[in-house]
């Protein structure tokens, strides 16, 4: 047995860009600790969790024993379910006591994005601060959502504590948190646990890629500023060609080595664990058991010529043809973190601009760096981003300005105080998102979205807003809510980006279900970084390519009427030239 952590702390947080292998690394760590005789709980805080699949056991909101491993438990901290439980705690006692219309109105009010976020956070704080659920475990391993969402979760204890402290008039805008306002001690205990190096380790998981390493560095800085100083780096998916002479394999290895050489210095100073690229997906206890071992695992044994595997599919160029024909509209790239949404959105924008069409390229991901991906400015592309902090400040300013005429000094002071509520951020971001959705009536808007969970919360907000608008609208008047535009195929094309691997495909299918529940039908799926669409003779890469071809067949048969495929880019996909080449490849 390999124990990657010589002196593991009670809390272990695994974080990093989506798709870097947080769940595999966290699960393998939990498994090792349990096999060493410890009682271990693995918790996923990702609203789009796939911990069930990786551990091979169906999980819920309470610790579930993992069959076959003494002492190992798993649970999903599902924000939607947390919010449902919270709502039921509030509403349950009044069913049959208050009339049904009153109960329904409470329920509707407790359905917003803020409730969802707060309820999940409250469960999370409970695990850190100590609770009946948490106390029996020697170690609690957190498999977190992609960076942006997780940073927000880790910063909330401080945000709410400060707001409660500073709000002199009894904190009128605690929003949905008011039911929890006596729990401030708990948030402070959670905060203390996070910043105690004896109790908490932050494990930054990354791949040997420049973008993932840069994101790891940003997370390191932000969380160190929050007092989370005990940090460790895991580099997952290191690749060395089995034999010389395969062009793609050589380039992948070279790009990886170069990324590691240029790693930001402070990251280099952290203790580090390297994990080789596996020939097969890490799913199930058996695969997890050998996760930390040095062997890359067996690839294809046969000698095969360098050739693409499987059928060919249309690339981004075909998508560009259709968007260009409309001349306006919204293309939203959605999917789990790390599948390449930013790269695909930027490549499509470059392709359209190359045809002389003006494009508005934007992102809702607080952690995204579209401009980095694009490199130098490209003529015809206007880049914007929805920055939560800037949007919140602008929103506060706007609301105060608008109210100046109708409120006296006291009223304004009260409003200003309430606008300090952390809830305001959700509202401000939603307003900015709405503006972008509407602007696609007149221009081509390519939108890179935040990883799934975060985006679902945004759509949820669009849903509550939609219902509220409809309720308030007079009969016979026309209301156009952002949700209506997102549902209209003539206005919006949702492209689900995924990798052709078991877990990402399952995750994309879940996302598709969620979208359909909101009456949004995805336009197409897009498989990014396809080895099957590249040419290679490397045994490990070929084994992965063959599995991919199967997955793509599965996508077409079960999930998507239209499928686009973009090959693995042997170069780091940044800058207009490389992106346009990617868009042109089919």
């Amino acid at each position: 047995m390999t124990t990657p952590f010589p002196n593991p702390t009670r809390f272990l947080f695994f974080t990093g860009k989506g798709g870097v292998g947080k769940t595999s690394t966290a699960s393998a760590t939990g498994l090792e600790l349990a096999r060493g005789g410890k009682r271990v709980l693995i918790v996923s805080t990702d609203p789009a969790s796939n911990l069930d699949t990786v551990l091979g056991t169906e999980l819920g909101m309470t610790p579930t024993p993992i069959a076959g491993v003494e002492g190992l438990h798993g649970m999903n901290l599902d924000p939607d379910e947390a919010a449902r439980n919270y709502r039921e705690r509030v509403i349950g006692p009044y069913r049959g006591v208050l009339p049904e219309s009153s109960v329904a109105s409470i329920e509707e009010q407790l359905s917003g994005a803020c409730t969802v976020e707060v309820a999940a956070f409250d469960e999370f704080a409970g695990l850190l601060a100590g609770s009946e659920m948490a106390d029996p475990f020697d170690h609690i391993v957190f498999d977190t959502a992609p960076t942006g969402h997780t940073l927000r979760l880790l910063q909330l204890p401080a945000a709410w504590s400060t707001f409660i402290d500073e709000n002199e008039r009894g904190a009128s805008c605690l929003g949905p948190l008011s039911g929890l306002k006596n729990q401030q001690e708990r948030y402070q205990a959670a905060l203390a646990a996070l910043s105690d190096a004896e109790r908490t380790t932050l494990v930054l998981v990354t791949r040997p890629e420049e973008g993932a390493l840069e994101e790891a560095e940003r997370t390191r800085v932000e969380l160190a500023a929050q007092g989370v100083e005990n940090q460790l780096l895991v580099v997952n998916g290191l690749f060395e060609p089995t034999s010389a002479g395969d062009e793609l394999a050589d380039r992948i290895a070279r790009v990886g080595r170069a990324a590691l050489e240029h790693m930001p210095e402070p990251l280099r100073a952290l203790p580090r664990i390297d994990i080789p690229l596996k020939a097969h997906n890490v799913v199930g206890l058996e695969a997890l058991g050998s996760f930390f071992e040095g062997e890359a695992g067996m690839g294809d044994a046969d000698e095969a010529p360098a050739a693409a595997v499987g059928e060919t599919y249309p690339g981004l160029g075909v998508l560009a043809d259709e968007v260009a024909a409309d001349g306006h509209g919204l293309v939203m790239f959605m999917g789990k973190g790390g599948v390449g949404k930013t790269t695909m959105a930027t490549a499509l924008a470059v392709e359209l601009a190359g045809r002389g069409l003006p494009v508005h390229l934007t992102t809702t991901d607080p952690a995204a760096h579209v401009q980095n991906t694009l490199g130098a400015d490209v003529e015809g592309i206007r880049v914007t981003r929805i920055d939560p902090k800037a949007e919140t400040d602008a929103y506060r300013q706007k609301v105060i300005e608008r109210s100046r005429g109708s409120l006296d000094a006291e009223g304004l002071a009260l409003l200003e105080e309430d606008l300090e509520s952390p809830c305001t951020e959700e509202v401000a971001v939603f307003h900015a998102f709405t503006r972008v959705v509407f602007s696609a009536k007149r221009e081509i808007v390519i939108m890179d979205t935040a990883p799934t969970g975060h985006t679902l919360l945004l759509l949820d907000a669009a849903g509550s807003y939609h219902r509220e608008m409809l309720r308030n609208a007079r009969e016979g008047t026309n209301v156009g809510t952002p949700l209506m535009y997102l549902q209209d195929p003539a206005h919006t094309r949702v492209v689900l980006v995924t990798l052709a691997e078991t877990t990402p495909v399952q995750e994309a299918a879940h996302l598709q279900d969620d979208l359909r529940r909101a009456d949004i039908e995805p336009f197409a799926w897009l498989v990014n970084r396809s080895l099957a669409a590249s040419e290679t003779s490397d045994p490990v890469l070929r084994a992965r390519a063959r599995a991919e071809a199967e997955e793509m067949k599965n996508i077409q048969e079960h999930h998507a009427s239209r499928l686009f495929v973009v090959p693995w880019s042997a170069e780091d996909p940044r800058g207009a030239r490389i992106l346009q080449a990617l868009a042109g490849a089919a």
């Binding site: 509030v90 208050l98 109105s105 009010q109 803020c114 608008r402 006291e410 009223g411 009260l414």
Partner: protein, 108 residues
């Protein structure tokens, strides 16, 4: 300056918070009313505010309020109850009205 010792209970409809800043649009009428209540409290009145979404217990406990909800539905909110009597329903009153009910009898 006269003062009042009357008790006002305000029963709000379900909302995110009493100024509505975390709803889809900020309603300045809500903010103004919050400021008016602040003013009323400064005149000595005892003011309590309940939000249906956050403190349903207050609505269930008070027979007057529960009966209004049963007979008229949530459309009767906001409900202003002074010394146990319903003085206003279905809208937010002005500062002048609050002043009158409180028996302050001065210019506002």
């Amino acid at each position: 300056m006269t003062s009042t010792s009357r008790q006002f209970n305000v029963y709000d409809p379900s909302m995110c918070c009493s100024t509505g800043v975390c709803g889809p649009e900020v309603d300045t009428a809500l903010v103004r009313f919050a400021a008016d209540l602040d003013w009323l409290a400064k005149q000595g009145a005892s003011v309590r505010r309940y939000n249906l979404a956050q403190e349903p217990d207050a609505f269930a406990r008070e027979e007057t309020v529960r009966n209004v909800l049963i007979q008229e539905g949530v459309g009767a909110l906001p409900l202003i109850v002074m010394e146990g009597e319903v003085v206003s329903r279905g809208r937010y009153p002005t500062r002048e009205e609050l002043n009158g009910w409180a028996g302050l009898g001065e210019e506002v």
